[in-house]
């Protein structure tokens, strides 16, 4: 009985530590993303779609972890990234994204370069906004930073 308790406690502690570490990692990514110039790092013409996609792949998981992932017209940024991987590798000019909206399977086609730019800016900006909000949210509160 005691050994079961010990195992449960160890597992619980392990899970809590993992969760804390993951949140900590995500915040590190926020700090890192805050220093980026999104126009430069997500410029497909200058960097190529593969490099731009790599930036999206690097930062989007932290946005998912923090609950700030972007979604446009029913398509999550993770869906852009997943669809782009194959298209960029095969150097296809267009990418067709499959996604679910209101329980229905849907698909939409984009130019690969455009989708890569979008995936990158969505990933980086989502994290930059977390940092910006720390400084700006109180400015909108009546009676606090917002004077009327």
């Amino acid at each position: 009985m005691n050994s079961i308790k010990k195992i449960a406690t160890t597992l619980g502690l392990g899970l809590a530590l993992t969760a804390a570490a993951t949140a900590g990692d995500a915040m590190k990514m926020v700090d890192e993303a805050a220093k980026l110039d999104v126009k430069k790092v997500c410029d497909v013409k200058a960097n190529g779609a593969a490099k731009v996609l790599a930036v999206a792949e690097k930062y989007n998981p932290a946005a998912v972890e923090l609950g700030v992932e972007f979604k446009r017209l029913g398509i999550r940024n993770s869906v852009y990234i997943k669809g782009l991987k194959e298209a960029v590798k095969a150097k296809k000019p267009e990418v067709t994204l499959k996604y679910k909206a209101k329980g229905k399977e849907k698909k939409k086609t984009f130019k690969t370069d455009y989708a890569a730019w979008r995936a990158c800016t969505f990933a980086v900006r989502a994290l930059q906004q977390v940092k910006e909000a720390d400084k700006t949210y109180r400015l909108a509160i009546p009676g606090d930073g917002f004077k009327f």
């Binding site: 992932e69 900006r125 989502a126 906004q129 909000a133 109180r138 909108a140 509160i141 606090d144």
Partner: protein, 300 residues
């Protein structure tokens, strides 16, 4: 001498305990009063306040469509407190409310599952939720409380956005309105105050690809027009849920509405069961403290 020192210190101790206990909602109360003041000032005379509050509105919007002199209690009506045309349509729909069957269905559910009477002996509780549970350290919305009751009694939890849960909440809301209950959200501990602050921060943080905060539309933007809708004010937002939305062609919970707002901001919505949603609703509901419970209701 000794006795009087002991008495004085006991009195001071008791006094300080009361001060601390009473102080947990001090910031929230300050925020709420400022919000009420802001909304009343904004809608006291929209034409006069155009430069400050409605810089992009047309004169027609302001003179034909916005109400003047809106007072605290009226904000329970959401956008119909401020939108003249919307209010007329709303009053017509209210003559034959589309949610009456849902209230009956909710009452049946309350009777069918006997354990609900143990979990919620008084069904007039809509104004008391969300609550902060110090044991679990979490905010419990009414939707969460219903599911907790179901699970504790060996049932599967219900979908948190519509269906049975919205029906039962409609019954609770109708009973609360019937009893003349007011929104009465409590913040009684440091942990509860922290949860409130987290909810407030999320409400005022700009997010999504449109970089909008909830406040952009429902505080600073309230009363401004987006297409043909006048944006509803934060004050009074939670008083009338669950609502029958014409867009949904059915009844939905606050969790459902929040999910829709997040989509509109351009971000992947949080799960209705998440702590994020619960804390957001805790903040929003506190802002409506003192307003009458007015649900269920109908909205466009």
């Amino acid at each position: 001498m000794k006795k009087s020192i002991v008495r004085a210190s006991v009195l001071m101790l008791v006094g300080s305990v009361f001060l601390v206990a009473g102080g947990y909602n001090a910031q929230a109360e300050k925020d709420r009063k400022a919000l009420v003041q802001y909304m009343e000032k904004k809608f006291s005379d929209p034409a006069k306040n155009k430069a400050m509050f409605f810089p992009y509105a047309t004169d027609e919007d302001i003179n034909k469509h916005l109400k003047k002199g809106v007072k605290f209690e009226e904000f329970r009506l959401g956008s119909y407190a401020i939108d003249k045309g919307g209010r007329d349509q709303y009053e017509e729909i209210k003559e034959m409310p589309p949610y009456e069957d849902n209230i009956d269905a909710g009452e049946e559910l309350y009777k069918k599952y006997a354990f609900f009477k143990k979990c919620f002996p008084d069904p007039a509780i809509a104004g008391e939720y969300p609550k902060f549970d110090d044991k679990s350290g979490k905010v419990v919305t009414l939707t969460r409380a219903i599911n907790q009751c179901l699970v504790a009694n060996g049932e599967k939890p219900w979908k948190m956005t519509k269906g049975k849960i919205a029906d039962l909440e409609a019954y609770f809301a109708a009973k609360s309105a019937e009893a003349g209950k007011k929104v009465n959200i409590q913040i009684n501990s440091k942990a509860a105050a922290d949860a409130y602050e987290r909810g407030k921060k999320e409400y005022y943080s700009q997010r999504g690809y449109l970089k909008l905060s909830c406040a952009n539309c429902h505080v600073q933007g309230s009363g401004n027009r987006v297409r043909r809708e006048y944006l509803s004010p934060l004050l009074g937002h939670t008083t009338h849920f669950p609502v029958y939305r014409l867009k949904w062609q059915g009844l939905g919970t606050l969790e459902r509405r929040i999910k829709g707002c997040e989509k509109n901001q351009g971000e992947n919505p949080h799960k209705p069961s998440s702590d994020w949603t619960a804390e957001m609703l805790y903040f929003m509901s506190y802002m409506s403290n003192g307003l009458p419970v007015d649900g269920p209701d109908v909205r466009r």
